[in-house]
Structure formats: C-alpha cells, structure tokens
C-alpha cells in the first residue's frame, strides 16, 4: 500500500515523458434509427496505422461538460489496419465532442468535434 502510494507520488512529480501522439479520423453514417450512427475510426501514429489498440468511444456535449454525455462503447478492429468500428447512440443531433480512449500499445485520449445530422457526421470547423 505504502509502496504503491510512493510510486504514485513519484509518478506525479516526475517530468514529462514526451511521446509521439496518435492521430484519429472519424467517419459516421446515420443508421436510420434516431441518433444511432455506424462509425469508422482511423488511428495512426507517426504516419503509420495504429493496430492492436483497444478503443473505447464516448461523446460529450461541449457546452455541458461532465454532466451530459453518452455511455462509451468498445470499438472493434476492422479488416483494414488501423481501422476500428463502433456504433454510437447519441441523445440528440448537434455538435458532440467524440472521446476516443486508447489502451494497449498506446494509452491516450483523443477528442474530435463532429456535427451529427440526419445523414452522418462532419468535422466542426470554428
């Protein structure tokens, strides 16, 4: 217990461990059921497809952080290297901050902003 606490304190006070951040791209299609989308996630790192990652996909409404989000789902690896598939069940149309939590070869979290409508999702540019 004390050893774990000590390791945690050392980790908290250590300097930054810079590593190349993964990148993600998202494509979603409306399924025909209200607010449900079939999504394909493309992950890469250093220009190469990121394979073998465990990807959990969630979504937050940017104007109500912490209090308005959807239950995360696990994405399944597709046949194309670096691609993963997930079904997103949102509560309404509009802008959502899609949250990709990565585990496995790389631990990270990526946030992508997309506007969801009756056709699919488009990246938000502000």
């Amino acid at each position: 217990m004390a050893k774990t606490a000590l390791l945690l304190i050392l980790a908290l006070c250590a300097g930054p461990a810079l590593a190349q951040a993964p990148k993600a791209d998202l494509q979603c299609k409306f399924t025909g059921t209200d607010f449900v989308y079939d999504c394909t996630i493309r992950l890469s790192r250093g220009g190469k497809p990121l394979e073998g990652a465990q990807v959990t996909v969630g979504a937050d409404m940017p104007s109500m952080p912490m209090a308005h989000n959807v239950k995360p789902v696990k994405a399944q690896p597709a046949q194309v290297p670096g691609e993963y598939k997930a079904k997103l069940d949102l509560e309404m149309l509009g802008v959502w901050a899609v949250k990709l939590r990565l585990a496995g070869p790389v631990k990270d979290q990526l946030i992508l902003h997309y506007e969801f409508d009756s056709k699919g999702a488009t990246p938000v540019k502000r």
Binding site: C13, P16, M66, P72, K107, D108, Q109, R126
Partner: protein, 295 residues
Amino acid sequence: MDDYAIGVLTNVGLISFLALSAYLLLIAGEMSFGQQAFFGVGAYAGGMLTAMYGWPLPLAALAAMALGALAQFLVGLPTLRLRGLYFAMATLAAAEMARILFALLHFQRQLEGEPVGPDGTQGFRGIRWVFEHGVEPAEYLGIVYALLIVALALFLLVERSRLGATLRGVGEDAELAASLGVDVNRVKLGVAAAAGALAALGGVLYAHHNTYIEPRNFDIMLGVHSLAYALIGGLGTALGPLLGVVLDIGALEGSRVFQGYRMIVFGGLVALLLIWRPRGLLDEKAVQWLRRRFC
C-alpha cells in the same frame, strides 16, 4: 468497476469542487453565477503549465489554485460591494468576459513539431500529462476523491469553528455582523479567494481528465448547474452540494432513466425543490435534526 462507472464517479468528483465553490459563496450570503470562470482559469493555467512547460501536475495545480484565488479576489474587489441580484449579474458578466478571453487566447509552443497550447475557439488539445505518466483512470479517480475529501474535511472543520459561525452570520445579516465588529468586506473577499481556488482546483483536474478544453466548456450552463447543486443538496452543510451532484450526475445521468430529457427533469426538480425546500434537502433544520438523532 468498469470504465463507465469510473468516468461517472470522476465527473461527480470534479463537478463537486465547483459546487462546493458556489456553496462557499452562498453561505457567505452571495449568489454567484460565475464560478465556471475560475474553473476555466484553473483548467487553462494548469493545462498550459503541464502541457507547454512540463510542470508536474501537483505544482501546476497549486499554481492554478493561486491564480484562481487571485482572479476571484480581483473580481470580488468591485463586485462584492453589490448586493443580491446585482452581485449575481456582475459575476455572470465577469464569467462571460472570461469565456470571451479564453476564446481570444492564442498562445502555442512547438513541441516535437506539434503546436501545443490554447488556440482560441479551436480549444486546447493535448493536455496529456495523465497519459504520459501512466496514471490509470482508477488511480486518477483516487486522486480526485482524496483531494475532495481534504476539501470537505476543511469545510466541516471551518463550519464547526468560530470562523464558520462568522461566515454564516455574515451570510444571514451582514449589517448585524458588521455592528458586532466583523469586517464584512474582508471576510467576503477571503471567501471569494477561497472559492476561486477551489473552483480552479476542479478545473485543473478536469482539464487533465479530459485532455482537451475549450471556451464553450465554461459557459453559463456550468455555472447554473454548480449553483443548482448547492441549492438542491442544501445549504446546511458542505455535504449538501455533494448530495446535489450525486442526485443529478450520479442518479439521473448515471442511470440514464430519462436519456435526452434529463435536463428537463433536472430543471423541474430544481423548481420543485426551491418551492418545497428553499434552502435545499440538507438545510439547517435538517442538519440540526440529523445531529440530534445521530451525534
């Protein structure tokens, strides 16, 4: 515990800091609609220090708390002269000014060929300290709750002390407190600084949990909710705001009973409670009754 449960519990913990911050001002007699600004100050300051300058999170959190305290102290200097609705409006205006400043903030550094830092309305990505240091979600949850317990313990200690009585006295009747020799302005400025530091601590923890922040995260919705949590949970004890957060995020959001209609249910709940119990579920009378019964 699965990832979803950890996520909901972490959110409950994070927003509790903001609810406690609003509660602190409420017991001193001031209703602030602007605590989200200091949450944002903490999030931006802490995120910039760890992501752009490589500070360790504990030091960045302390610096962000100091900045949050200073920011709310400075806002309090002119606004705490106002009373009631006027103070509430002034805090809302200050929070909106802060949100616009976040939207205008473009300050980035190149790290490993990538721009890192706030980029106006595009937000601030890559606050990855938690991931770079291998802190697991369950461990981060532990850190959030350890800090929340410390904050709560301080609240409970203060509430049982002379300072707590002074605070409630100032909140109940500032003129009467002043006639008894209390420096009301000084007390309120101290409360404002403490509330700013508490909100900023929540903000820095939120930024590192989410890895991304943007000005829209800190709009009026967040401020109204933090105030509502304190009013629903009750003003009789610091456990009140936490009860408000647990009821909204833990019970309504966590259970997903109402799905997209949760906000409507929440609004109705606030309205009903303000009619039935104007000072919340755990109001002063309820706390007295519980103390007589169990202590």
